[in-house]
Symmetry: C2
């Protein structure tokens, strides 16, 4: 049954340069596809049936609910001074509104979720095709709408428009200023997490994008589904991160029809391809063409059909696992956000593919570190596996992806370390880790002997024979280690009341000097791996210089 799983390894990158995709600013959209056989699908259905109502809060149930919300939602381009109350009253002519918010992204947009899907159908009947001069329209009707205010009396006046929810992370320099105003490193980590994590609204936008793309794919494959995976749903996504999507064709009927043993039977004539890859390419090519040609504000859709994608259903389970770890203890997400933000500031990670450490690798390293504390903050994956019930069983193409989904079955150890202690611990841990010999495995929660010669070896949690960080070269690993050592050194100084500690008295309107986590995010001067001492001196001098300048400002006032 397990080996019957078949998978796509190709993706489509849809990059929006305007319009609704801009709501996920700087993001791109990676569509992937997996196909399981009927047997696997049946097994999954069986599993779902076992879920009691108490599991409603489970990962899968939440995903389904969000998809359903998205299907009842429309996205409306508005005037920045739109009268929110009148706007919502106008829309509620079509049915009760369950949720709505505004956001700003090269224009003001509203996402409106109706209580019932029928309201969307009712709304469609009242929407007109714009009358345009000197231009022509592609009359493709979607749930992307525009509001028009007609007549002088209804024009937006000087009143303030609706409050817009931010959909982008604050710039690094602003973040550094904000963090510097906090009083403890724990507060800084919490503040950073709050500033960077996906908001409820941004998550809704992501599911809406999935839903809109599903509409396109469902024109030809009515039973298909488009679901997000990866950082959009694993609890560790940052505002502006990629939206990975998964085109699910399992629901297509007609696979399960039994051929009679004798007599006549009819089959669909269908195009044959050499591989699932080729099938995926075909479908994503049409979807991409459609988005590019019909999608308002979507131009320059790139079809990257050759990119390697992971086993996508395993990737879905990985998202669920990370989500669970994030929910077990509030410090997990804080530490991951802090480490990832620090790594980005020092170009340890990058938005372009290369020999860099990825955010996923970093996240697994944080989880491993938390498992290695004297009193572990989180349990090992093997332990989560041992707690699993029958309904949790999941084997995907030979990979055992089983782990407990019911959080109440998990007993945590008593670890009371602060985020500051953990952050320093992380840098200490990896500043002196035996990368040359040892492999990182959150399944075992202990260092393993490296099975291969890659500079950095992080075992894939479910596809255990794979190295998550196979791409990382020695230079990048050395940089990471050196920067960990620097960060550890800095946090020690900070704890010992060194210059970068918070100035005891600050003027209310003066920007405080970066300290603690904020100081860790200051641009690094280390292009490569320099001598440890020289580097430390340089870093310290930069910090001193910054402090002097801020003091100078204070004197000048």
């Amino acid at each position: 049954m397990a080996s019957s799983f078949r998978v796509c390894k190709r993706g489509l990158r849809v990059r929006g340069t305007g319009g609704f995709l801009k709501g996920l600013q700087g993001s791109h959209t990676c569509l992937r596809r997996g196909v399981v056989t009927e047997a696997q699908a049946l097994a999954n259905r069986g599993k779902d049936d076992d879920h009691g109502p108490g599991d409603q809060e489970g990962f899968e149930a939440v995903q389904q609910e969000r998809l359903a919300q998205a299907e009842r939602s429309v996205l409306i381009s508005c005037h920045s001074k739109t009268n929110e109350k009148r706007f919502l009253k106008y829309l509620s002519l079509h049915g009760d509104i369950q949720n709505s918010f505004f956001y700003d992204s090269y224009g003001t947009y509203a996402v409106v979720e109706f209580a019932s899907p029928e309201s969307v159908a009712s709304l469609h009947k009242a929407v007109s095709i714009p009358a345009v001069n000197h231009e022509s329209l592609v009359p493709f009707k979607s749930r992307l709408l525009s509001l028009r205010s007609l007549g002088a009396a209804d024009r937006p006046t000087g009143q303030t428009g609706p409050q817009c929810r931010p959909q982008t992370a604050v710039p690094m320099n602003e973040l550094i200023q904000t963090l510097s105003q906090e009083e403890t490193i724990d507060q800084q980590v919490t503040c950073l997490t709050a500033a960077f994590q996906l908001t409820e609204e941004n998550t809704r936008l992501r599911f809406l994008v999935c839903s809109l793309l599903r509409d396109i794919a469902a024109s030809y494959f009515p039973e298909c589904n488009v679901r997000p995976f990866g950082s959009s749903v694993n609890g560790f996504g940052k505002l502006g991160c990629d939206l990975d999507m998964f085109l699910d064709l399992d629901g297509i009927s007609g696979r399960s029809l039994k051929m009679p043993n004798a007599g006549l039977a009819l089959e669909y004539q269908m195009k044959r391809c050499n591989s699932e890859r080729a099938v995926t390419q075909s479908i994503l090519s049409v979807v991409g063409e459609c988005v590019d040609r019909f999608g308002p504000g979507c131009v320059g859709v790139q079809k990257i059909l050759n990119a390697r994608c992971p086993l996508v259903r395993v990737a879905m389970k990985t998202s669920e696992l990370l989500h669970l770890y994030g929910r077990l203890d509030g410090r997990v997400r804080g530490l991951v956000f802090a480490v990832r933000c620090w790594a980005r500031a020092h170009a340890i990670t990058s938005s372009v593919p290369g020999a860099w450490i990825t955010n996923f690798s970093l996240t697994v390293m944080v989880l491993f570190f938390l498992q290695r504390r004297p009193a572990p903050v989180i349990p090992t994956l093997d332990h989560l596996h041992s707690l699993a019930g029958p309904a949790d069983k999941s084997v995907i193409e030979g990979n055992d992806c089983t782990f407990v989904s019911d959080l109440s079955r998990i007993t945590l150890q008593d670890n009371t370390e602060t985020l500051e202690q953990l952050l320093r611990g992380f840098f200490d841990f990896y500043g002196s880790f035996q990368f040359g010999r040892m492999s990182i495995s959150i399944r075992k929660g202990t260092e393993q002997n490296k099975p291969e010669v890659a500079p950095l070896h992080i075992q894939n949690p479910f596809e255990t024979s794979l190295n998550v960080s196979k791409n990382v070269n020695g230079t990048q690993l050395d940089r990471f280690v050196a920067l960990c050592q620097d960060a550890a050194w800095h946090l020690e100084q900070s704890a010992a009341g060194a210059p970068s500690a918070p100035p005891p008295q600050r003027g209310a309107d003066t920007a405080p000097a970066p300290w603690g986590l904020a100081a860790l995010l200051l641009p690094s001067q280390t292009a490569g791996v320099k001598g440890r001492r020289k580097q430390k001196r340089e870093l310290a001098s930069v910090r001193l210089k910054g402090l002097l300048e801020s003091l100078k400002k204070n004197n000048n006032r």
Copy 2:
């Protein structure tokens, strides 16, 4: 109202290299699109409402009925030995079958038309997705199906399979043999027409292709229509001729919604393009991508989006006009088929674009010739215009396309010429036509002074400022004239009992020597324009040689 018509001038050429498009062997499919405004659409609707039940046989009504037939039809790939009776009995489980036929095209296919569209929906529920090994399928469900016979008892045995209807024209050499067996030139023309004209089944296949493409376009534009025009419907189509199609987006709702004068209103966000052309390109690009990626047996779809197309709604009216002329007198179609076949045999026309005379030009030339007989066989377009009723009124972007649709209003003159006389008359007429000075106009039915310097000037019947044969160069026109003179000379000889007249006594199993129309179709030796006399001598010697050879055969028996 008239000037509000907007049109596409781009097309998509879809060339099938297998599967269902092969049913239109050697054909290609040209999609074009036109858009009229609401006012025009309303005017058309008004027109339809005026049609009484007596107009049911009208061109438009027939087209609509054929489209409806096609939507109730499925195409099923069968075994060549399929038991037709059992096959139809099996299908009739889903509802009454109105019509069915088989044809052969790299495999045996059946077209089955149900009495009700619900039967197709019922059938879909019983159709399965094929189980394949070593290959993958694009799970796109269409009305292209395959029949499977299961179990030994049901395998096709040695019995004869269903009778297949031919979908291709007979090869020229076979046709020449067949024609040579006829006893009069009139019989030859009738025989040629019967062999070349579109069959009922081929017409059904063409509408089925439109309907299948409509399914694809309707996934995104539910109210759209795909209709054939040109030779597929004008009564002059030859088996294997191009299928020109027209993507009609007029029906799309939301254009007519009235914006309120005040308050709020919603519009669709739609992609804007610089021109209708660009819109058409977008839509056809997606449709083409879909056919290419999903269509079983469709590979190598070429998107020819830059080709110039005529005003497509005018082209529809032209199809209707030609259809009317063809119905007025049986000799019209006979003469057109004979002339076009002769022209093809001598490479006056060609399947590739160039400086050649087109079939459409030739058809207009035949019509003009028939209007110019001492007793005209058909009336002028101006006369048909004068007979039009209010419901016939049609002005398309300033072009008056009005003509009578009710045949009973047309009184024909008493012309009793035979097809032989008319054929000879055609060649005489154009062998000595004043092409240098005069223009051909079926609107006036008399030669007009040429308004421009093109070698051949044939006035477009509806877009009267345009020259249908603008592409034709002097060399091609000279060849045409020379070949007309040759054909006229040959037919005179034939009428005078010259060697190419039918041999008075033939053995029943002996291939008779080509004579009359058959002899006109023999390959021409004239590559360019040669001296008239020399050419005639050569042609005569070729014919004599052929006759001698056939006599030799007779002697050898």
